[in-house]
Each structure stands twice: as structure tokens, then as C-alpha cells.
Amino acid sequence: MGKGLNSILAIAGGLLCIVITLALPWAELGMDASFQNWPEWLKWLSINLNIPLPDYSNLANYASEWTEHLKKAGAESRFGDYAYALVMGLAMIASAVGIAAIGREDGEEKTVLPVKK
């Protein structure tokens, strides 16, 4: 592959990592990351030490279709957990593609003629 193409793939891979990194906690926090869904210890710190936690509840509408699908499929609650599973699954597929792409060269079969000692 050319150097240019490698750079493009590296940038695309990097962007994918950023998206997945943001999507994982977003999904884990109930797909909106509103204050009430942050972990208890973070909420405690926020309240007692007056550290503001961001409230991304405006992102909830991004998950409306996912939630709808899960409700139709019979899931009753903790929709964020299911979404986390999906994002993690996609992350693992991307990782596998990355690992295979890097390890491809080592995996190429090398023909060695057997020579009797």
C-alpha cells in the first residue's frame, strides 16, 4: 500500500477509536449521559465538592430508534446496557480488522523446500 493510503487508513482508524471511546460511556450511561445516570461516586463528588458534571441529556434523542427496537424485541429496562454491548461488539470487530491488517504480513505463507540432511 502506498504511504498516502496508509495515512488515510490510520486517520480513519484514529477517528473510529474516538467515536467508539465516546459512544461506550454514552451507551453505558443510559444513552443520554444525563446527570442522574452518572455513577454514584461521581455524583457524590459533584454535589459535595461542587464539581460540575456535564449533562448531555440532549443526546437522548439519538438513541430513540435503538430504544424503540429494544422495546419491540421484548427488553424491559437497562437499554443502555444493550447499547453498550452493541458498541463494544462493533469496537471488537474494528479491533479484529486492525489486528488482522497489521498481522497479515506475518501470516503470509512462506514456501520452504524441504532438504534432506
Binding site: W66, L70, A73, G74, A75, E76, S77, R78, D81, Y82, A83, Y84, A85, L86, M88, G89, L90, A91, M92, I93, S95, A96, V97, I99, A100, G103, R104, D106, G107, E108, E109, L113, P114, K116, K117
Partner: protein
């Protein structure tokens, strides 16, 4: 006729493998890890099962009379709807089971298609069939554990089917229900069978591998990632849910069927019980008999490797390299310059020729493919290219 079927399919399989190699290289070709895939899912099942076990309560507890319901169904409900990531772990456990059945069947098919199931490999084939049957039964007991309406129907169907067996039927039914009727002890028994039989799979796997020197039991990380990723995606696409809580006083009649594990129940519902057992037991025995000699006698007879006694130095390289433990090092006869001598166990030898390549002293040969002939062929091929 029989031998020609695998031959044509072998060619097709090899063509697909070659195409896969072109894309993924042989390092990441799942065809080369087909035996390791179900084993990987077994570890996933053990781990996810351990997490579920921590919250599972194996009792029916007359729940329909109780105010505060605490029984198998409510514990599964708690795991699914309340416990953080409980639904994901439950989904992983369920889909890993399905995936294990699929990969076992694909593994068996490939082994059969590529003609690697008979002669020296009959042990692996027969133990593999037994392992498949065990996995199917373990999976079915997993469906009983949920204790929804489907569990109740399956339990009743199983106990009726077991009771219909001559001589051993009543005893088997009592063993299955852990008593004369469905009680709290029944669920305890189901959990014991589900977990106990799962661990006994490890013994079955030992038998499955015992004649292989270097079985491939671990796929590379990239394939492992894909195997887990598939489960996670399915957890989102098709969330696992329970039916209504089982009520012993009610008579549920229909349920959703999982075709990977519950197809025997479909058969049971559509045929006479005697016919069902004849089909199930007959089918299992027939599968075990696939490598029986009369079926392949005319196919491709294997000629075992032979040791040239006066050349063998007892170095044991051939014994270490043999993939099937077909070469045993024995004390050399009196008067020999060396301490050991290689001997071939003909019934285990596949005639693969690995030992010929391992020997530095031309002391082992395949009778129908001499070392000198092979070298000549390779040289000719190299010169042509």
C-alpha cells in the same frame, strides 16, 4: 459412491479455504481453527455462567401462592432487568450456547468432508459425537432453569418421554425430577445437571484430544474478538427475554422454539414417543458408527510408516513430531549401539509423512511413498517452476 461424496465436497472446501487465505492469510483463516471455535465458546459459557450462577435461585418456591416472589423465574427476571449488565451476560450465555452448537456441527462437517474422521481418528469422531449430545442436553437443561411456561412444558415433555422408556424409564423420570413430581428439588437437580455435566465436558475433551499431539485449541486473538463481537451484536439485535412464570396448576401448550437446542422437542411433539426414541437413539448410534470400517474399506487405505531398523538411532524426533502419537520409543534390542528404537503403531498412523521429514537418518519411510521418490518429485517441481 459413499467415498465420492466427501471427495467432491473436499475439493469445494479446499477452494473456499484458498479463497479465504487470499483475503485473510492462513494465520486468520477460521477454517484452520474449526475445532478451537467451539472450545472458545465453552470458556465464554463457563465465565458467563459463573456470573449468572451468583444470582440464580434454583427453586420454584410455590411462587404463585407467595406475596414476595423469590424463585428461579424472579431471579432470572432480576438478572435481566435490574442487575447492571445482567441482560448482556444472560444474552452472551445464551448465544454462546447457540454458537457452540453451530461451530460443533460445522467442525464435524468439515472433518467428515475432508475425510479426517476414520481409522486412526475414530476416537476423536466418537468422542466428538458424545460431546455434541452432551452439549445439546446441557443446553436444554439451561432452558428448564429459566422456569417460565416453556420450561414447564419442556420438563413435562421430558419426564413423559423418559417414563416411556422400557425398564429404565420410571427410574430415569425419578432421577430427572429428583422425586416423583416437580418440586423445589427438581430445579436443584436441573442446576446440578447443567453445571455438573458442563464440567464433565472437560473430561470428554481430554478423550477427544488424547490421541493428538498438538491439537489446535486456541484461535488467534483477532478471531476471538470476532467470536465475542458476534455475541454482543446479537445481544442487542435479539435481546433474551423470559416467558410468563411457570404455574404448575396451569397447562401451557405452546412456546417459542430455539432450533439449535430444542428441535428434539419439536420431533417429540410431532411423533409417537416410541418412534422418537428409536429415531434419537438410532440416530446417535448411527453417527457414532460413521467411521466403522465397512463404510470406508474401499476408500483410501492408509499404509502405515515403517522404521528401517538398522538406520534408527533412537533420537525420538519422529515420535515428538508425530501428530497422532503413533510412534513409540521402545528399548533397543540387545547389541544395538543405541538405547531406543522407534516403533510405529499402525492403527494410529495416518501415513501423513511428518515422521519421514523429521528423521535425519532416512530411518523411516512410507511404503507407498519412499523418501527418495518425494525428494525427486519436489526437485522436478522446483525445476519446472
Amino acid at each position: 459412491m459413499y467415498s465420492s461424496i466427501p471427495k467432491g465436497m473436499t475439493d469445494l472446501t479446499l477452494a473456499i479455504e484458498k479463497a479465504t487465505n487470499a483475503v485473510l492469510t492462513n494465520k486468520y483463516n477460521p477454517f484452520y481453527y474449526h475445532g478451537a471455535l467451539p472450545q472458545f465458546y465453552l470458556w465464554v459459557l463457563f465465565l458467563s455462567g459463573l456470573l449468572l450462577f451468583a444470582y440464580y435461585i434454583p427453586t420454584i418456591d410455590n411462587a404463585y401462592f407467595s406475596e414476595n416472589l423469590v424463585n428461579a423465574w424472579t431471579s432470572v427476571d432480576y438478572i435481566t432487568d435490574t442487575l447492571p449488565f445482567g441482560a448482556v451476560v444472560r444474552g452472551i450465555h445464551r448465544y454462546a450456547g447457540d454458537a457452540m452448537v453451530i461451530t460443533i456441527v460445522l467442525h464435524a462437517l468439515r472433518v467428515w468432508i475432508t475425510d479426517r474422521y476414520r481409522q486412526y481418528r475414530w476416537t476423536q469422531w466418537v468422542t466428538g459425537i458424545v460431546l455434541l449430545l452432551m452439549v445439546l442436553f446441557i443446553g436444554q437443561t439451561g432452558y428448564y432453569l429459566v422456569w417460565d411456561e416453556r420450561s414447564l412444558v419442556l420438563t413435562r415433555m421430558t419426564s413423559s418421554a423418559l417414563e416411556a422408556l422400557p425398564f429404565v424409564g420410571p427410574g430415569l423420570k425419578a432421577w430427572f425430577l429428583n422425586g416423583a413430581a416437580i418440586t423445589n428439588l427438581t430445579l436443584s437437580n436441573f442446576l446440578f445437571i447443567h453445571i455438573g455435566l458442563s464440567f464433565s465436558l472437560l473430561f470428554g475433551l481430554w478423550l477427544h484430544y488424547v490421541r493428538m499431539t498438538r491439537p489446535v485449541i486456541t484461535p488467534p486473538p483477532a478471531i476471538n474478538y470476532i467470536l465475542v463481537a458476534v455475541l454482543l451484536v446479537f445481544v442487542f439485535l435479539l435481546p433474551i427475554t423470559s416467558g410468563k412464570m411457570a404455574d404448575i396448576n396451569a397447562q401451557p401448550t405452546s412456546f417459542e422454539i430455539d432450533w439449535f437446542f430444542l428441535w428434539p422437542y419439536w420431533l417429540l411433539a410431532h411423533m409417537d414417543t416410541t418412534m422418537y426414541w428409536v429415531l434419537m437413539i438410532g440416530g446417535s448410534v448411527a453417527l457414532c458408527l460413521v467411521p466403522f470400517p465397512s463404510l470406508y474399506k474401499a476408500a483410501h487405505p492408509v499404509e502405515a510408516a515403517e522404521v528401517v531398523l538398522n538406520k534408527c538411532t533412537g533420537c525420538s524426533f519422529c515420535s515428538k513430531d508425530c501428530p497422532y502419537q503413533a510412534i513409540e520409543m521402545v528399548p533397543a534390542p540387545a547389541g544395538s549401539r543405541f538405547k531406543l528404537l522407534a516403533t510405529v503403531k499402525a492403527y494410529r498412523c495416518s501415513g501423513c509423512g511428518v515422521c519421514v521429514g523429521a528423521c535425519a537418518f532416512d530411518a523411516i519411510d512410507l511404503p507407498n511413498l519412499l523418501d527418495t521418490d518425494v525428494t525427486a518429485k519436489i526437485k522436478a517441481l522446483a525445476e519446472t517452476k
